[in-house]
Structure formats: C-alpha cells, structure tokens
Symmetry: D3
Subunit: 114 residues, 6 copies
C-alpha cells in the first residue's frame, strides 16, 4: 500500500473512532475544522494554501499531506505549491526542510493518483 | 511485536544507555522527571493527565503514549482521557489531531494489554 | 491600573470586536473554547489546571494568566498551582521559567483581588 | 507615538544595525526574506496572507503586525484578513487568540493610518 | 531604569519567590539549570552559546537576554555572538528576526554596562 | 539498509528534486544553510554543536541526525555531544528525551560507520 493510501486509511479509521467516542466539543471542533476551508472572501484553493503554510511551519507531516492533497484537488499547480513551500521555509527556517522533502514526495504521489 | 511493546522496549534500552553514558545533570533530570509525577497536593492520576495535556499540545507522540500508559495504570477512565484530548485539541488546534489519532489507537492497545 | 485589570480590560474589549467582526467559525470556536472547561468526567478545577499546564509549555502569558484566574475561582490552592508549574517546567524545560515568574506574580495579584 | 509608529521605528533602527554588523549569511537571509513575497505564480497579496497565517500559528506578534501591514498595502480586505485569522485559529488553537486580539487592534491602526 | 536592570531585578525578585515557595522538584531543577552550564568537556563560553542558540530558535526573549549576558561575561566577542545569531536565524527562520533585534539591542546595553 | 544509509539516501534524492524544481529563493536558502556552518569567528565543530542544540530543542529528528553526523566528522567527542544533549534537555525539557534517545542510537551508528 502506498503512503497516500496508508495515510487516507488510517486517517479515516481513527477519525471514525474519535467521532463516535470523543466529547461533543471534539466533534464540533472537527465540523469547524471542515467549515474553515469553505470558500468565502477567499476561495477554497487559497484557504488550503493558508492551511498548508501554517502546517509546514508547525512541522506536522500529516497536516502537510492533507493540505497538499486538498490543494491539488482545488486546482493548485506545482508552481503555486512550491511558492508556498518557499514562504514556509523562509518563515520557519531549515527545520522545515525535512518536512518539505516529505511534502514534495507526497505531492508526486498525489499527482500520480490523478 | 505490538507498538506498545516496541515503544516500551526501545524506551528501556535507550534510557539505560543514557543513564550509563549521559552527564550527571542528565541523570539527575531523569530522576526529577520521575519525582514530578509523585502524588502531592495533586494525586498521581491528575499529574499524569497534566503531563498528557502538555505532551499533546507539544505534539510529542512518545510522551503522549507514555502518559496515556501511566494514566491508565493510575486509574484514569476513557471518559477522563477523552476530556484531556478535548482540552489539548482546543488549546493546541487541529495540528493536535494526528497525535490524538495515534493516542486513541495507543489507548486501545493499553486497554487490551490489561 | 494593575496588570490584572489591564489584562481583563483588553481581553474583554478585543473579544467583543472579534465576536462582532469575526467569521462564524471564529465565533463558534470561542463558544467551544468555553464549553471545553465545563465539568464532565473531570471537574472544572482539574480542567483549568489542564489548560494551565498546556498554556505554560506553549509559553502563552495571557493564556497562563487566564487559567490561573479561572483555577483560583474554581478553588485551586497555591500548592496545587505550584505542582502544575512544576510539571510544566519538567515537561517544557528552562524556557518555561520566565513564564513561571510572570505566572507567580499574576497569582499573587489574583489572590490580592479576592 | 502609536504602536504602529513604535513598531516601524524600532524595526527600521535595529534592521540597520543588523545589516551593518551581521554576518554575510544574515544579510543574504534578509534579502531572501524580501524576495520570497514578490509576486510569482501566486500574487503579492496571497503571499502576504500565507506569511500571516504562518506567523499567527507561530505566535510572533511583530511578524503578524508586519504581514498585516503588508497585506493591507497589497489590497487585502478586512473580510479576507478575518478569514486568515480564522484558519490560523483552527490550525493553531486557542493559544492563537491573544495574538489575534493584538492583530485586530493593529489592523484598526493600519486602517486609520491610510 | 534600563532594560538590563529591569530584567535582572525582576528575575532576581521572582526567582526568590519561586525558590521559597516552589516544589522541591522545581528547586532542584533550578540547581540543575545552573549546573548544566559549568565547564566540562566543553568550556563555559561554548555552553552559553549553545544555550543562546537554543533560546533563540525557541524565541524566548528573557532566555536570550540571560545567555547573551552570561556569554559576554564568559568572554564571547560580538563576532562570535553574531555567528550564533546567524545559525539561529537559518535554523529557525524569519520569525527569529524580532528576537534577534531585541537581542542586538540588549547586547549593546550589556557592553555599555561593562 | 541501516537508518544512517536510509537517511542519507532519502535526503540526497529529495534535495535533488527540491534543487531542480524549487523556487530561486528556496535554492538560495539551501546555499545559505550550507554557508552558515563554515568556520569564522567560531570553528566548524562549534557551529555544528550550535545547530545540534537548536535542532534538539525544536525536536527535529532528521536535523539532529544531520548535525550529529557533521559534528562527528568535525571531530566532536562523545563527551562533547552528551554535554550538548544535556543543555538541550535542560532548555527544552522532558519532551526532548525521545529525540535524545534516537540521537544516541544514531550517534552509535555514526561511530560504527567510521
């Protein structure tokens, strides 16, 4: 199984457990988390890129993978994604690099799933 | 070998190396780290939950696993643990979610070891 | 005006602005943030202490002040609060110390307001 | 002097010192930091919003103030800025709130300078 | 009163309170924190620079001020300190810049106290 | 394949992709990142130790592995490296421990490659 499939699989399985066993506040947070990326004054692609830049400087590989996948589905080009990687690198420094490496690899896998 | 056994195994093996080769300050820190969770004005279970909430917002999977295991041994219920997850999620945001997923999976493994 | 009053004042004034001008998701997040500390399997005091330990390791002075104030109102003793400071210090290291200093000063001010 | 003027003043004065006394690598980093926000596949406003979202989750008040100012100059509306605040809040959690408060106050000052 | 004096004053006053009222673990941690910077395989100056680089990437202004002061007392030159600032900037990114600004200002004050 | 080889391999392969596909700013950042560790007022070994202490408190395993490897090549002894681990532990707290464990294991592998 590819990293892409592994990631989607584990994510779906555990989200189900959290949504059935978690507190009401946790469940509502999951709903808000989804709502935050719906188009408004900013379009959906821009919002995914904002989530990606935040996730990269916080160095959360699963969050990075998720937002790359969503940004690709919202029509982001590789050029746009590499400019987001660039800003995250400048803001967050060289410790972002290992996460950028895994992000670039994951992006290639997303493109190959299309 | 399960994740639970892997984790305990690696932890024990490397702690031994650190305690035999590390500085005197490092060894004393390890002792203090143990002392901090002994019951005082707050009981042992509450202290483990405090360590868990701190570990979750700092997003340290091994620390989360350790404090879940200790909290379970100190008698914490799943309801109590999910309320700790909830506070960590609200304080630390959606980047806590991947760690909550692995924490929930680890909790199930802890319960099944009992 | 004391730091305590300054803090409460600025917090109230800007929360009003955020709640009148922010997105629907932001407003709902503020509600969830309040709900997370309501008593459940864990009582209100324990929940405030969990929020305090998380805020200390994330080194957010305003969050620390807020949870100290709430914990005091929920009946936390100084002994309990210093044990929370202790765990935050061990988990988060010496960079927590400057925030512990300001927390101890704020705690004294909270007690003197009573 | 307003917070806006204080901030610009101190920033300019110390940047001058760093650029005259810092290492060659530091100076080149300052240049790169400027280059990263120039329009490319993404326009300048979007890049400032990406820098803002990264700065908010890393909770750097001066960085937040800087990117709000730049985003306003690049034509960002309040609606767009509040949606960035929203994503930063969801990704980074309640510890982002104190920085959002100061960001909202700074935004009002930026608008009043116009 | 200068920032240097303010800082030393508040630090001394609150450390006294913490050492008289804190837990035994907290007091021992303060002792360890002092011990860690005593010369060993590495000399005292190098250890202060290591503490400074760690404090800069964690963006703790008081910790940065403290280690600059100690490093100056241990004989560090401005050239050495600016190379530490440089590494912290590359590792930690542009969010380190506001702390570098305040560090440079504090360094000038330390030199003028000599 | 050992963790050492895996790490070097993946690092080289993805750095190539980033350097061929990344933005000009990203490429320049990679150059600066290399330059920052060249000897100046501080020698190469000290600079690697500074990078290591920063990487440990930021808890970046790949960065820790990289700087351990470079420090070993620049002549750092185990005693020196354990004193860096010690300072990182005191500054960053118990959440550094899991990274110290993996760092100690990696150091042993580096020594066995020699």
């Amino acid at each position: 199984m590819s990293r892409y499939e592994d990631f989607q699989d584990f994510r779906a399985k555990l989200n189900d457990k959290i949504l059935s066993r978690g507190t009401k506040t946790t469940k509502r947070f999951f709903t808000l988390d989804g709502n935050a990326y719906e188009p408004g004054a900013l379009d959906a692609k821009t919002k995914e890129l904002l989530g990606l830049s935040a996730s990269m400087v916080l160095r959360c590989d699963d969050c990075i993978a998720y937002h790359i996948d969503q940004a690709v589905q919202a029509g982001a080009s590789d050029e746009e994604l590499f400019e987001v990687f660039d800003i995250a690198l400048i803001v967050g420094g060289s410790i972002v690099i290992p996460h950028m490496r895994r992000g670039v690899e994951f992006l290639e896998e997303c493109r190959s799933m299309g």
